[in-house]
């Protein structure tokens, strides 16, 4: 009898929780009291922390991979995922029932990261980046990926400058951030990868990609495990304290909140 009573009580509570219908999301400001997710170590995480303030401990969940964060969103474990706009758009194309809130959380610039004090390499890379911007190479690389369909891009077609005389150029990245970097078969494609390939060629070095978790990248570059890290890394003042950055190669990349389409009602 007591067991039955307990069961009924539990059921009643569950029913109460489930039926407490929440209103749909309308603005980014509403996210301040919602459960959010982000990829660990990304600017998305920092933005979500700022948004939640004191409540970040209980409301923010960080994941190692974007796919995990989006899965949590779809299962209703979180209400929004804070992430970069370009990968977010790719999720919208491939996964049903998602939406991007029209209001962006912030706009960021991407640059290549170096070990603090490695001014020689930063200088060289900056020169090459300037050249790529001037002669249209960078625009051409972006154009190749920006239409969203890069199934025709093959890793074999990217020249890693094998056997270069100047040694190797180790680049750390997290290859789950299309269109910037993506692992395909046993190789890599993406904007960052092609850009680094060009840089390696100009430096007369062979490009070696080290595919790590995003939150391990700063550690890898500061311990000299890799020469530079290139993974759509947002330049922030906090990061500047611990590493050096090249000139920006992406300006105004939006940070957005991805939500469930049926949970979102854009303001007209």
């Amino acid at each position: 009898m007591r067991k039955l009573a307990v069961c009924l009580l539990v059921l009643a509570v569950l029913a109460g929780v489930c039926s407490a219908e929440e209103g749909k999301l309308k603005t980014v400001a509403q996210l301040k009291t919602e459960r959010l997710a982000a990829q660990r170590g990304t600017v998305g995480q920092f933005l979500a922390e700022d948004l939640l303030g004191d409540k970040k401990g209980s409301l923010l969940t960080t994941f190692e991979k974007y796919v995990d964060a989006i899965a949590a969103l779809r299962q209703g474990k979180v209400r929004a995922v804070v992430m970069d706009e370009m990968p977010a758009k790719r999720f919208l194309n491939e996964v049903e029932g998602l939406a991007i809130m029209s209001e962006a959380l912030s706009e960021e610039n991407y640059a290549i990261g170096f070990r603090k004090g490695n001014t020689e390499l930063v200088g060289k890379v900056n020169e090459i980046l300037a050249e790529m911007k001037a002669n249209g190479t960078l625009d051409a690389i972006f154009a190749k990926y920006l239409n969203g369909d890069y199934s025709s891009v093959k890793p074999e077609d990217i020249d890693f400058n094998k056997g270069a005389k100047g040694g190797k150029l180790y680049v750390g990245t997290e290859a789950g951030f299309a269109p910037y970097e993506l692992r395909v078969g046993s190789g890599f494609i993406g904007i960052d990868v092609e850009m680094c390939a060009y840089i390696a060629k100009k430096l007369d070095r062979e490009l070696v990609i080290e595919n790590m978790n995003f939150d391990a990248l700063p550690m890898a570059v500061s311990t000299n495990k890799v020469d530079m890290i290139c993974a759509g890394i947002t330049v922030t003042d906090e990061r500047r304290e611990n590493m050096d950055f090249s000139e920006n190669y992406v300006v105004g990349a939006k940070q957005v909140a991805v939500v469930r389409a049926d949970d979102y009602e854009p303001e007209k």
């Binding site: 796919v67 899965a71 692992r183 395909v184 078969g185």
Partner: protein, 268 residues
């Protein structure tokens, strides 16, 4: 064939398999898997995840890395474990090697007292920070092997201590030195006792290598994550990875059981 051992050997494993199978079927049925539309969708995603562009090769390559690391680490683990356990047992048996014994004790308590994940990161990013041309898999083998050595040492010590002290006394009284008695009399018997446990350690190690992705090794787990990043699909790659691990572990478990039977038959 011994009828008793046959009943034991075949029965249990099969019941377990059927149980796992039944659970999977139930889960699939629950999620509306057995409808035509769902089946088509499943096929489409299966094609995307594993067939298109030979993506299953990513899993095959990952499996190779996993098996390579596990095998290498087992060799190191057994060697280290054997040495450590002999040191500890010999010290207990009256051989004056207090320093070595202290070292072995410290080694075991430090490596067993810290998570393998943390050790792996320390090996890669601190100790081998400047070794960039070294294949990361070798670092992982070293890290997992030395870690496993601490556990294997305890397995061996148990095995050696399970041999009747009378054996050692008898060997010594025949005029054999301590070393020879250990090598020729005690260890062969102890080894036979611990072989099943060593296999279990191998199985545990196989699963433990799944954290190698953290230092940029595309092992089986990481290969599944790489496919996830490619197709943005969450469940199928992970479940496939789980099935591969499970099949290997079940196969090895069966092997251990056969080995146990074989070893105990020789004893009669």
């Amino acid at each position: 064939m011994n009828p008793k051992s046959k009943r034991y050997g075949a029965g249990r494993g099969d019941v377990l398999l059927w149980l796992v199978g039944a659970c999977l079927l139930y889960l699939l049925w629950e999620s509306g898997f057995f409808t035509a539309a769902a089946w088509q969708d499943f096929n489409r995603r299966f094609y995307q995840n594993f067939v298109k562009d030979d993506r299953y090769m990513m899993l095959v390559d990952g499996l190779k890395a996993t098996i390579f690391m596990t095998s290498g680490a087992t060799v190191i683990g057994v060697a280290v474990g054997l040495i450590l356990s002999v040191i500890r047992v010999a010290y207990k048996g009256g051989v004056p090697i207090p320093l070595l014994n202290k070292f072995a004790e410290t080694y075991i308590s430090v490596l067993r007292g810290t998570p393998a994940m943390v050790q792996l990161l320390i090996w890669n990013f601190t100790i081998f920070a400047s070794a960039r041309d070294l294949n990361t898999q070798y670092i992982a083998i070293l890290a997992f092997g030395l870690n496993s050595g601490a556990y294997v040492a305890e397995i061996f010590r148990g095995g050696i201590e399970s041999i009747d002290p009378g054996q050692m006394e008898a060997a010594r009284s025949l005029g054999l030195s301590y070393g020879t008695s250990m090598r020729r009399v005690i260890l062969p018997q102890a080894l036979r006792n611990v072989i099943p446990m060593l296999f279990n350690e191998f199985i545990a190690l196989l699963k433990e290598t799944s954290i190698a992705g953290y230092i940029g090794i595309d092992d089986l787990t990481r290969a599944g994550q790489n496919i996830q990043a490619l197709t943005l699909e969450h469940s199928q790659p992970l479940i496939m990875v789980a099935i591969i691990y499970l099949v290997i572990v079940l196969f090895l478990t069966r092997l251990v059981r056969k080995l146990e039977e074989w070893l105990s038959r020789g004893r009669r």
